[in-house]
Subunit: 801 residues, 2 copies
């Protein structure tokens, strides 16, 4: 054991009446038991209680897992147990270093929550053997804290999001304590570094508490960590600069660390309780400086000090499997046995492998156990939103294209009513990177404010301690908050610039993986879906141009588990309402809705919109000219608001100039309808697809995003050879709305030309029409260079009805 | 004008011999000129010098752009000019709030660098009118600082990366000062918050200096910012906790702010000069606490105080266009004219529109101008790497599959030689999130250390102040550093877990956009490519499982500009060498290389590897059984190391059990070869494609990633209907290598079955072979559940030769 870390607790004066020796012994027994079980999971196939001397065949053939962080996680869990029990706390913990799966699994097994969910892994010797064997074993359990782990709502593999998840869980849960272990590796990531400021958004009255525990074990995979190597004064300034009051627990002498940790926990919880009481009884005053515990203990603490002559404990070498050669190297095998026996398992487990009473002395009971708290299985607590009737918010549509509305503004009124309806239940939030207003959702402010705990000025508008609109210029925080919020059973919407939602590509990957795995676990109850409203989209970046143009998030999520992913492109206000209504009622999905905020023609009445959205894709007979023909000559298809407008303009031109052409217009709202039946639950059968798109007629498809996505979704369809897709071709700049579609060949004139080029035998009249379209494009180019605005025939176009 | 910000400079004592009144007047004249030009760009089409009273027709029909940040950027530029000139500094500036494009364009025009690059925008009245008109105008220039902007290497649209870019530019540029303006909006993002700690990686001897200028103008789009509303003491602690020495400049009285800003700049630069001198002359001691300037001035400073009765200056309402109704609202028009005339343009420009001498008194000359410094046009400074002969590093291959190597380890030796060869030139770095060692690139440490300026312990290995391997647990920092490094003309490689490179999806979007735009600008010289080595890939996540499994980055980048993007999947060590050699010699690309770190069969000799990589895709005749048949019965194609192994194993099985089958094996290294000719510069013609894959024979394609990507790339090819793709289907977990391929139907047995199912008329023998394959899969399932390792027939398989 190293002695680099003299035990100290500079932040906390000795607690009067600290732990008794009996309490220290019991906590230490629990910690040793958890450490023993963690090592056992990494190494053992059998002989779990070391009833006989350890032999190579007791050891797994493949040694996998992460030991380094496990003893620290076990220490935190042991001490959280104590305070949860002694204070009867409603608490969960987010395990940032969740790759230390063995630790959290060990604790769940010790407290009994594991065996309740997985009865075959019983709390006895047989169950212990199963616990060990299944870990990182084919067909067993993953090596990280994962959906399979009771009490978890956070996968600790992709580091960076623990603290954001913790805040998300704490919002609108005033009785909840969310502890959050942050590894010093994770602390180097940008998203985590940005998450510290989430305390400026936590309302001491209506929200619960977050207790960050920064675990400085000194090393990441192969390097020291930045925060562990800061001078203490610099670290202290940093944490105070983040708005926290640090409490330090440092050491490697277990008994002393137990006392220091218990004292720090008590101080932190007293501090939290006082801050909440003051705000709740006396009104919100200055923003509280919430406590943070800094726990500095050796990486791989209590593991082998040296292996093959190299230091391991308290170095990066303790990260994964400290003794790699146990099956073949008798020396390693001996070291492993010595290590395991150092925890004195015979004191911890009875002869049947059950934890002895002393080990469990400070373990809470029932739902108070960290592995059983329902907040970490949020579906248990989910209440449906009070959904108002869409009729109150729908725009009147007597005939298609007669009126125009900003779809997101219409949606905003609907969301405002949901916000108002949840004033008491407080189970709905809207998050976004400072774009709620710009995205025309400002009606929300009639129902709630923007969450803000920092200083205010007289000119400020809509800031409120208890606001449930969350605005921070960090897509990572928005996403992390909403993940934590929905995983604990509440509802929300993330309104985001379409291009910049890629900032959270990797986070949504992890969330989809989480939901996919959760859905297969019967004990996990469905949670509210995570809903995106992507607006300020690729076609309207007048102020910002190329850097703000990327419609690829749809492509990204469609690579993911189809049982989780839904993608909607409503073409007008009423379809947006219908889609949003569906998304906010749904569970266990990631719903991506792409919709514009600019004035847009109203195509469908609410009733039509509902029917159209229920089908997901359909013929707009009023827009085409196929009449009673069994099959049209050509299909103009569209998905997205701007492509729909261009397709309808093209259809209007074709109807006027080539009335003999039997033209069908198809609109797709639900992108997954295009996928093959069997590849996605929404996928059309081939018969359905053919009925819409025909088997052999040319289809010109105007799509909101990258055109090849449509090919990827439809390559198995019969008529695929006759499918021609227009979309965004990465030609972006600061220009007019119509110039954007011209530059990407998605404009009405080009679409008319595309149809003419693909329908045989149209004759001389069609040649002339085609030339007129080409001329219109030329006219456009000259006009905008001269005037900087779109031609009147485009700017003032409306559907001829 | 508001008076919320009393001018103060708590960090800096009054400079002895501060600015003279003449100097203040000149700096103020320059600042006013820049402000005038910024407003002009947002509003004016003509009448640039206000020679006649302002009329509606002088005003643009669409008013676009961001005023709010512009006066602050103009102030910083004005004062950087002064110190660059007075100290003869080699300096560039990264403009974090680069959406304030009008400011940087104004400054470039004032100093003359703009007209040198764009002679039609001359430094006179005509040029001023062009400068105004072209801004955010169709066919003109984008609204942000962009590649088109002289002196820029950073687009300020997607916020978060300015400081990382600044550090990347400063590394290995010991004579360079990189100023970096950070908006308080951007400061809320995770990547920016994490970037502050980059100062722990900056060597005062071999690197240049970074001077962050935190601009607190108080508001983002529609909200106050977190940092602007911190109590001053808390902000001070935060910045000191980040390791900086803050200098404050606060105010709204221009004359006072000029004096305070000049004093702060002088103090900061003195501080930097001293720290560098001490380290360079006396050796590196304690990590310097570099200065940071905190500039607190009103948003939209000097703009309209109120519009339509609402406060605008010093509120979020100043963010974009403060007077929106100028063409129609005479009151707004009058306000605009008043605003423009408040800068007293007649004092700033002569009657021909040229800046008067006083305006330019502190503007540097030649390459010292911020718009002309060659570091911001890094191709001017790029020197090729000393590429060692691949022969020295290639593995010997007498026949395919006889030996095995870890490809990335072989690559590591090659990279180490490049690292050694650049000891003096210091123009090569390898960055990664703490995975260099785990990715088997540790040979690098023989040539250089890991950059580290924080404290060290005796057990540390390879840490060095001057190390050129950069390890930090932040993909954002790795990416940002390498972007800054390559854009200033140096070379590098980002080695990353395949799944977690999605963390920087949005950053690579922006970088590809930057390169695409740069390539079209003749005055921008080509810069070294940005190279990814994606290893620890989807098929080998033994320690980590599902959360670490995602091969979708290839899909992501293939949505982007084809002239910039290259994707390589080398199947063995020598092909990896060849591909890496090519990538490191290339310019203006984003090269994505996916390669494993686990032992892998050596298939090709160096000579064969070079030829194969040059073709990008080819028949491996030795692996198939087509003999002299004109066309094979079936094609087994593969891309990626694991799929290649499974395809060769399948080919071996087919050769043994169905020798009558004429089988062709095709390997694809360069994924863009599959794309249509004309859609990508590397795309095969249809004739080339048909010659490889046939026109009508079944193709079973085993691909490393999501299978539908292959369909997306090939949907136009003749034989597409007979293409059957296997790949990763998002079925991931912690399991054995072979179990991973079985779970995703990519295993050898499944591939044999796929071929048999698709070749008609193979007869009874084939039925038996197919059953044997199905039995082998069943055997596998039973075996791994029992043993936890792969069956010997798989684990010990080798190519029969």
């Amino acid at each position: 054991m190293t002695t680099r870390h003299p035990t100290s607790d500079p932040g906390a004066a000795p607690a009067p009446g600290g732990l008794t020796d009996t309490e220290v012994a019991a906590l230490d027994a629990h910690w040793r038991a958890a450490n023993y079980l963690a090592v056992g999971q990494i190494y053992l196939m059998s002989n779990p209680l070391l009833a006989v001397p350890l032999e190579p065949e007791h050891v797994k053939p493949r040694l996998l897992g992460h030991w380094g962080t496990s003893p620290g996680l076990n220490l935190v869990h042991t001490h959280l147990n104590r305070v949860v029990k002694s204070r009867d706390l409603d608490a969960i913990c987010v395990w940032g270093p969740g790759h230390g799966g063995p630790a959290v699994l060990a604790n769940s097994w010790l407290e009994g929550s594991y065996s309740e969910v997985y009865p075959d892994v019983s709390r006895d010797a047989d169950g212990m053997e199963r616990l060990f064997r299944q870990f990182s074993f084919p067909g067993g359990v993953p090596s990280h804290v994962a959906p399979e782990t009771p009490g978890s709502l956070h996968e600790g593999g992709e580091l960076g999001y623990s603290l954001a998840h913790a805040y998300g869980a704490a919002f609108d849960n005033p009785g909840l304590l969310v502890a959050c272990v942050i590894g010093d590796g994770e602390a180097e990531t940008g998203p985590l570094a940005g998450s510290w400021h989430a305390n400026k958004f936590l309302d001491p009255v209506h929200d619960g508490a977050v207790l960050p525990i920064l675990h400085l074990n000194g090393y990441k995979i192969a390097n020291p960590t930045v925060l562990a190597r800061l001078p203490e004064e610099e670290l202290d300034r940093l944490l105070r600069g983040y708005g926290h009051e640090p409490l330090y627990v440092t050491g490697d002498d277990p008994a002393k660390v137990h006392r220091a940790m218990a004292a720090a926990m008590d101080r932190a919880l007293d501090h939290i309780a006082t801050a909440q009481r003051v705000a709740r009884e006396g009104g919100v005053g200055d923003r509280p400086h919430w406590p943070v515990i800094v726990l500095r203990t050796p990486k791989g603490w209590t593991g082998p000090a040296e292996v093959d002559g190299l230091p391991v404990e308290d170095t990066w070498r303790a990260h994964q499997v400290p003794l790699p050669g146990v099956r073949d190297n008798p020396d390693h095998l001996r070291q492993l046995e010595h290590w395991l026996r150092s925890y004195r398992p015979e004191e911890l487990f009875d002869e049947d492998g059950r934890p002895r009473p002393e080990v469990l002395a400070h373990v809470p009971e029932g739902d108070r156990r960290l592995g059983a708290n329902p907040h970490a299985n949020g579906g248990l607590l989910t209440r449906s939103l009070p959904m108002p009737p869409l009729e109150h918010y729908a725009v009147p549509v007597d005939k298609p294209g007669a009126g125009r509305h900003e779809p997101t503004r219409v949606l905003g009124n609907f969301l405002a009513q949901i916000m108002a309806g949840t004033t008491a239940s407080r189970n709905f939030r809207v998050v976004g990177p400072d774009e709620t207003d710009s995205n025309r959702l400002d009606a929300l402010y009639a129902a709630t404010g923007k969450a803000w705990q920092a200083a205010t000025l007289p000119t400020d508008e809509h800031l409120a301690h208890d606001g449930r609109v969350m605005e921070v210029l960090s897509e990572h925080l928005c996403q992390g908050w909403l993940e934590g919020y929905t995983l604990t059973g509440r509802h929300g919407l993330f309104s985001c610039y379409e291009a910049f939602v890629h900032i959270v590509d990797s986070m949504v990957n992890q969330h989809i993986k989480w939901l996919r795995t959760s859905r297969a676990l019967p004990w996990r109850r469905p949670v509210p879906s995570l809903n995106y409203l992507l607006t300020s989209h690729v076609w309207r970046q007048d102020h910002n141009g190329f850097s703000h143009q990327d419609p690829g998030f749809v492509d990204h999520v469609l690579n993911k588990s189809p049982e989780v992913v839904r993608v909607y492109l409503p073409p007008d206000a009423n379809t947006l309402l219908s889609v949003a209504d569906h998304a906010l009622r749904s569970r266990d999905y990631v719903n991506v809705i792409v919709a514009g905020k600019q004035p847009c023609f109203d195509w469908l009445s609410l009733e039509e919109a509902r029917a159209h959205c229920a089908r997901g894709a359909g013929v707009w007979t009023w827009a085409g000219s196929e009449g009673t023909a069994r099959e049209p000559d050509a299909v103009l298809a569209c998905a997205g608001d701007v492509p729909t407008q261009e397709v309808l303009a093209a259809a209007g031109l074709l109807r006027r100039h080539l009335p003999e052409l039997a033209l069908r217009v198809v609109n797709v709202v639900d992108m997954t309808r295009l996928m093959a039946h069997g590849e996605h639950p929404h996928g059309m059968t081939d018969a359905e697809y053919d009925a819409l798109f025909t088997r052999d007629k040319p289809v010109v498809f105007a799509y909101h995003g990258y055109p090849w996505l449509i090919h990827r979704l439809t390559y198995r369809r019969t008529g695929h050879g006759d499918l021609h897709v227009r979309g965004y071709k990465e030609v972006g700049t600061t220009t007019t709305p119509f110039d954007m579609v011209v530059r990407n060949d998605l404009d009405r004139y080009r679409l008319v030309m595309d149809v003419i080029d693909r329908v045989p035998g149209l004759g001389a009249r069609a040649v002339a029409v085609r030339q007129a379209m080409a001329d219109a494009r030329t006219r456009h180019h000259a006009w905008i260079r001269e005037h900087g605005v779109d031609m009147p025939e485009v700017a003032e176009w409306s559907w001829p009805g």
